[in-house]
């Protein structure tokens, strides 16, 4: 799941907690897991061949899928929690699909994203984890993804129209199976709100007043962290959506609207009302550190995706996750409040067209995609990694905790849904030396006259090769 939120160096997302210090140490610096897999793979090659001997791939006639055989998955689910989720699903798939051998190649989240272009052109695995939105269409258009209309025909009855639209390429073909999603909202601890006698703010004035009150009470009103560069985009998205509307936001992401528009300046002006209440030194904090501020009751609120719950699960105290709750972004008093638009990114599985094994494994790979579109499989994943919500209609919501139910509900009540800036806009514009850098520049002095900055944003956009 997640946008660009993995740390950026191979393997560094694996962290060990030094007992008693609260300091997390990244381990596994240089050797990527891909290397490790290779090393392990060569060692056990003989055993692998011996084990393979018995199974012969069988194709069920008239079906796009096949049982037995083998297939491979390239995965960016490198954090411990989601990684185990995928493994659980893969084990279930192997059992259900006639002992299909599945090789999972896990690559650090950030590295996977940064190298996706080369990865998809070299020797990718059959199936790969990715994001929907512009980011999916971008690679579909480049001819690096395999259309899966046949799979979709079999499974589409299990998805709402919103999900169906999110996996269509520009050419009308379907390129992905959506498996989970999560909303962005303002998270808080119920016990902190009760103790401080805080009320959920429904409009901007109340929201700012609440921030002031929390500051008086020696809380950090809004946890915020932007060392990773992408979290600030979440705030930009929601402010732009609520102030200027869905259509303008989509146009801005797509280049039909200009960054120099005074509407964008208004967003920055509004944002400056909120920045005084942010975590100190936020440009040097990771999203995980800010999430810990919220968990440790040092901060009152945090605008982030549902995946913030991972930090509450792994925090050690079982009660933490029960205290976590969220509320939708407050109304700004504009005509666009009624859209209730929000970011709700969808994570997907796709087929890599250039995979050298896809020719032989096509049936198995498609069988995996069909398996992933079942509610039962998605729930298997969700149980291990509850930071996102299953997409399938037949995923039984009765076992969801209140937080997940509420998250599903806030998305379904939204009239307009966007993915996230780095999924809705072109990747060459949302990177560290473009949008991420621009927003950090803005945040370094939010009260600045932003016209110069906006001009630079627009001229960077204009410099990009038309898609």
């Amino acid at each position: 799941m997640g946008d660009s939120r993995g740390p950026k160096i191979a393997g560094s997302s694996e962290r060990i907690l030094i007992p008693g210090t609260g300091i997390e140490l990244p381990v596994d610096f240089d050797l990527s897991r891909r290397d490790m897999l290779k090393i392990a793979g060569y060692g056990s090659l003989a055993a692998f061949i011996a084990a393979c001997g018995g199974t012969t791939p069988t194709t069920t006639s008239g079906s796009v899928t096949a049982k037995g055989g083998s297939m491979s998955i390239g995965s960016y689910l490198s954090d411990t929690v989601p990684k185990k989720g995928l493994q659980d699903v893969v084990d279930a798939f192997t059992k259900a699909n006639g002992d299909t051998k599945v090789k999972v190649n896990t690559v650090d989240h950030g590295t996977f994203q940064n190298t996706i272009n080369n990865y998809l052109q070299a020797t990718p695995e059959d199936v790969f984890t990715w994001f929907s939105g512009h980011r999916m269409r971008f690679f579909a258009k480049k001819g690096l993804a395999q259309p899966i209309d046949d799979v979709w025909n079999d499974v589409k009855s299990n998805f709402t129209e919103g999900f169906a639209a999110s996996v269509k390429g520009d050419d009308g073909h379907v390129y992905a199976v959506p498996t989970s999603y999560y909303p962005w909202a303002i998270f808080y601890r119920k016990d902190v709100f009760t103790a401080g006698n805080y009320k959920i703010p429904t409009n901007w004035d109340d929201f700012i007043k609440l921030c002031q009150q929390m500051k008086k009470d020696n809380l950090i009103p809004m946890a915020f962290a932007d060392k990773d560069g992408w979290p600030a985009m979440g705030t930009f998205d929601i402010l732009n959506l609520r102030m200027n509307g869905y259509d303008f936001h989509v146009g801005l992401c797509g280049g039909q609207q200009k960054w120099t528009d005074p509407k964008v300046a208004n967003v920055f002006k509004k944002w400056a009302e909120l920045t005084p209440y942010y975590s100190p030194a936020f440009a040097g904090l990771t999203w995980q550190e800010a999430a810990q501020q919220l968990r440790q009751k040092k901060a009152g609120m945090y605008l982030l995706g549902l995946f913030v719950s991972e930090q509450f699960v792994s925090g050690g105290n079982a009660d933490d996750i029960n205290q976590l709750d969220f509320f939708p972004f407050p109304d700004l008093g504009t005509q666009y409040d009624s859209e209730k638009a929000l970011d709700a990114p969808i994570d997907v599985y796709m087929l890599a067209k250039k995979s050298p094994t896809l020719g032989t494994d096509s049936g198995q790979a498609k069988a995996f995609l069909e398996f992933m579109s079942k509610g039962s499989s998605q729930l298997t994943y969700w149980k291990a990694s509850p930071g996102a919500i299953p997409t399938a209609n037949d995923a039984d919501p009765s076992q969801y905790p209140a937080l997940t139910k509420k998250a599903a509900q806030i998305v379904s009540s939204a009239k307009r849904i966007t993915q996230f800036f780095d999924r809705d806009s072109r990747p060459d514009f949302s990177g560290p030396n473009a949008m991420q850098g621009f927003l950090l520049r803005y945040l370094s002095s939010p009260k600045q006259d932003t016209s110069g900055l906006q001009g630079q944003m627009q001229s960077f956009w204009d410099s990009l090769t038309p898609e």
């Binding site: 609260g22 440009a283 560290p432 030396n433």
Partner: protein, 319 residues
């Protein structure tokens, strides 16, 4: 190798025959010799072409395209000087990155390298426990810069980090954002880089000092020169070859600065460096290969300066 007359060998029947050249002189190289020479020159040349010239020329060619990393480069990709034009006039990160490299160079040249030299001179005086000090200062050098980056990230982290906590800044709610504040984060990572650079220079300089003829010092002492004068008037000039090496290493370190800034925040928000702009543009998800190559060409041109100086010095000493 070019012996005038080589006895015939089994594998070269004509060996030993002296073939007249056009100018009427006799070629001292046998056919066998020529083959060996060709191999000895040819193989390194081939490797050089494949691994150095080809990538270099490709970068230069790519810098005139808008290639995005997918498929083949075709004539339709060529955009002339557009990348360079945007680089110098529109791209707001280029000049900051350039000046950050310059600051990096100045810091290493005027602070880190002199400290390394100073340590070397001190350790050369056969202090007690000099081997211990040497190992301590040299220890960071064996670490990769990536790990140096991780180590210092933990020191500098605003709320969890050692520095802010040790000075009680976290408690006093007076947090210094070492890595997030664009005014100071470059200097924070320069401290991290120097931590390693100082040891590196120290070792190189120390080995040079060990090879200085001790009679020079004695002579200087007899002539009544103090330590200070002895070093700057006698030792330092004698060390000229090492000084060149140190100067070149310092320059190269400054030009290839990358790892620590990339570890900290992928080189944004005040940590832009030319090498990082190349990486972020050309091998990120964005894949602006053409534009990234243009920055790479600029870095190449800048690097040629110290390379030419170094080579001309080396050539002069050998001739």
């Amino acid at each position: 190798m070019a012996t005038s007359i080589t006895p015939a060998r089994e594998d070269s029947p004509e060996a030993g025959e002296l073939a007249p050249t056009r100018r009427g002189r006799y070629n001292v190289l046998t056919r066998y010799d020529r083959r060996v020479l060709m191999l000895m020159v040819g193989i390194p040349l081939l490797l050089e072409i494949i691994f150095i010239w080809w990538p270099t020329l490709s970068s230069i060619l790519l810098s005139f395209t808008n290639y995005n990393g997918v498929g083949e480069v075709g004539p339709q990709n060529f955009v002339g000087l557009k990348n360079y034009q945007f680089l110098f006039s529109g791209y707001t990160l280029f000049w900051p990155a350039f000046f950050h490299n310059v600051i990096w160079l100045a810091w290493l040249a005027f602070i880190a390298t002199p400290i390394g030299i100073f340590f070397a001179v001190l350790l050369d005086r056969e202090l007690r426990g000099t081997a211990f000090y040497q190992s301590v200062f040299f220890l960071p050098v064996v670490l990769s810069l990536v790990i140096v980056g991780f180590i210092w990230e933990l020191q500098f982290s605003p709320t969890e980090g050692f520095i802010n906590n040790a000075f009680g800044l976290t408690k006093a709610n007076n947090i210094i954002d070492w890595l997030g504040n664009p005014r100071i984060n470059l200097f924070a990572i320069l401290i991290a880089a120097s931590w390693r650079h100082v040891g590196y220079i120290m070792v190189i300089y120390l080995s040079g000092l060990k090879s200085v003829d001790p009679t020079l010092r004695e002579a200087a002492k007899v002539d009544g020169a103090n330590e200070f004068r002895t070093f700057f008037r006698v030792i330092f000039p004698v060390m000229a070859p090492i000084n060149t090496v140190v100067a070149v290493i310092t320059t190269i370190e400054a030009l290839r600065a990358f790892d620590i800034a990339f570890i900290v925040n992928q080189g944004k928000n005040g940590l832009e460096l030319l090498s990082i702009l190349i990486t972020n543009n050309s091998i990120s998800e964005a894949s602006l290969v053409g534009f990234g190559s243009a920055i790479a060409v600029i870095l190449l041109v800048i690097s040629l300066g110290p390379i030419v100086v170094f080579l001309s010095r080396v050539m002069r000493t050998t001739s």
